[in-house]
Amino acid sequence: MADELVIKDLHVSVEDKEILHGINLTIRQGEVNVIMGPNGSGKSTLSNVIMGHPRYTVTSGDIIFKGESILALSADRRAKRGLFLAFQYPYEVPGVSAQNFLRTALTNIRKGDVVSTVKPDNLDVVGDGSGGRKASLGGDGANIDRRKKESLIPPKEFREIMRKKLQLLHMEEKFVKRYLNDGFSGGEKKRMEILQMAVLEPKIAFLDEPDSGLDIDAIRIVGEGVSSLISPEMGIVVITHQQRILNYLEVDHVNVMMQGLIVKSGGRDLAKQIEDNGYGWIREEAGLAVGAEEDQ
């Protein structure tokens, strides 16, 4: 049976201000979902909350993935269970090679969410942490590193995975030899997100405006890339303002968010209607005040 992500009557606050007012949504593996809506309607918030961003507080409701609530889990444990978020604005991590990072990430994701290996979210784990080099400068340090390296996915296997995924997305190898997103153009960052998704093979992936700020050619590259990754094992949620990227995808469901609520659901046609007529008619239908989104 396909895995499901069920969002139940989800209320979310930031600094005591409620911004999601009871979201209900079910995402299934193998389906393409679209969330549309004006700026400030809570789309990005929703995807961040699902990934477990610590800035947001879930005040009521639940997020259930594969039959279990994930609300108490940190972002990394949610990722290990198969959730993914392609960021609207991916962060730069200078000095960290994209390739090495991805190897560690894939190793962790493949291990899955094994509770016994999860460390407390606390910096001070052992001793006073100052780590001065002790008398034995023999092998112990090197051995620690050796163990760490050996527990990673073998280099040959990883290289092969990278080669395939890069090929699939028509990307060059030099791309992953650079530091993660460091000095990347907007389009390169978006493609790097899609590459990460391709390598990590999540069960449910949220793509937060994968098309924003991109020119037509770049949207095609990203759209075709995403399309090539969709499988019965991967469900995606595309958050977008634009209809264009949807041309590359077999859309199953379209949901419209406004003012922290899902106000309308439909099929592929709904996206077209919005492209033609804007959001005004939906707002009226839902009986919402004009422009309230901008406050958020």
Partner: protein, 447 residues
């Protein structure tokens, strides 16, 4: 060397007994006595109070009067020959660095001196400083604490000049290029040891060498160890010296270190330093360009964790026209770690057409850590291009979240961000074994 004699606390008598035991020439004894007088008259500096007196943390006081002026070598020297690691492709390997020579000082005594046949044939002198006094007195008299670091600079340089022992002396003749590094290791394992480790490097014209200086101690013995250390380099015309100092003293060491390079015409001196160890370190790191076309490069990685305190004063001084400098420091602070940085580009009146940069970047990993950073330009010449840049910030929660969404735990995410932060420094370390070792040490300090 023969057995220790200068027993008891730090006194003039101890100075004289030490010199006598080493059969030192009269000029050296006179120099030691003179330094002792300076030591007694100079004030105890209050460096460890923070540069501008901002810090209120009680810094552990070092009681110099409980320290032994000479501590013989013990018999528990750790394995030193295969600590290096290098990454080849994706395999991590233990690498035994091919060395041009090695000197090991254990407490106050040099216990091992080796020089490769190639270096020997090239006329390189690589001995303990004690031995150099006997075999090459004219060279020691010329270079030892004369035109470079001077006894009168502060209380610890004076004490050092009065009580130094062991040490390393490297003299490279003209036109000798050796790619394998010379390695100098200082090791201490006895409580209440006062160490005065000294390194002198003299490179002849058109020569090219590398030196790795290391400090290690057994910190399970308790007590305090003081290392008042001095490094003097004299970089000859058109020569290049790469000087590596991954300092990893144990937690029982208070370290007062002065390192200075004098650069001749078209020479290059590269300081590559890491402050990772010790309880407290005060490093005074300087490069002075004295010949036209000289280039002074400095890179530093600083990482106080636990209750460590790392103070760094660094100057690139341009005293003649047409010289260049490039200094970059990166410091991460964890737990209650403290970092003081006073960085300066100094251009003397005669230093026209200087081009020099200074960068200092600080990353806080905890709320309790403290840093005080003060970069400055002090320029007395026209037609110069000097710049300094500084950044200070906490590790970014958004970056952490981003990496966590890819399956890295919070600890792994922070560790990844920190190693990336240091990478701009580690990536510039030319010698692969030291580069890998720094990466490993950073990872260990994050563990």
């Amino acid at each position: 060397m023969s057995s220790p004699v200068a027993e008891g606390l730090l006194t003039l008598e101890a100075v004289e007994k030490l010199s006598a035991a080493k059969n030192e020439p009269e000029w050296l004894l006179a120099k030691r006595r003179e330094a002792w007088t300076l030591y007694e008259s100079l004030p105890t500096p209050d460096w460890t109070r923070g540069i501008r007196g901002w810090w209120h943390s009680a810094v552990k006081q070092l009681d110099v009067n409980t320290l032994q002026p000479f501590t013989p070598a013990g018999n528990a020297l750790p394995e030193l020959d295969s600590f290096n690691v290098a990454e080849e492709g994706d395999e991590v390997k233990m690498v035994t660095e091919v060395l041009a020579g090695i000197i090991v000082q254990y407490n106050s005594e040099v216990v091992r001196v080796e020089l490769s046949p190639e270096a020997q044939a090239a006329g390189v002198i690589f001995t303990s400083l004690d031995e150099a006094v006997q075999k090459h007195p004219e060279l020691v008299q010329q270079y030892f604490m004369t035109s470079n670091v001077k006894a009168e600079e502060n209380k610890f340089t004076a004490l050092h000049a009065a009580l130094w022992s062991g040490g390393a002396f490297l003299y490279v003749p003209d036109k000798v290029e050796i790619s394998a590094p010379f390695r100098v290791v200082f090791y201490a394992d006895t409580p209440q040891t006062a160490l005065f480790s000294h390194v002198i490097v003299v490179t002849g014209a058109n020569s090219k060498v590398k030196v790795i200086e290391e400090q290690l101690s057994n910190d399970e013995v308790g007590g305090q160890i003081m290392d008042a250390n001095i490094v003097e380099t004299f970089v000859g015309n058109y020569s290049t010296l790469e000087y590596y100092n991954p300092q990893e003293w144990g937690h029982n060491v208070n370290n007062f270190s002065t390192k200075r390079a004098l650069l001749s015409t078209y020479s290059v001196n590269r300081w590559i330093v890491a402050l990772f160890g010790s309880d407290e370190t005060r490093l005074d790191l300087e490069s002075i360009t004295q010949g036209e076309g000289a280039r002074a490069e400095t890179i530093g990685a600083i990482f106080p964790t636990g209750d460590q305190h790392h103070d760094l004063k660094t100057t690139t001084r341009h005293s003649v026209p047409h010289t260049t400098g490039d200094a970059l420091f990166k410091a991460a602070l964890r737990d209650r770690g403290q970092y003081g940085f006073q960085g300066k580009i100094r251009v003397d009146k005669n230093g026209k057409f200087t081009e020099s940069t200074l960068g200092d970047h600080v990353l806080f990993l905890s709320e309790e850590s403290k840093a005080d950073a003060l970069p400055s330009l002090d320029v007395d010449a026209n037609d110069v291009r000097c710049a300094h840049g500084q950044t200070i910030g906490m590790v970014d929660d958004n970056q952490i979240f981003y990496l966590q969404t890819r399956g890295l735990s919070r600890d792994e995410a922070i560790s990844t961000i920190v190693s990336g932060f240091f990478e701009q420094v580690t990536d510039r370390v030319p010698l692969a074994s030291v580069r890998e070792r720094l990466r490993l040490s950073i990872a260990r300090k994050m563990a």
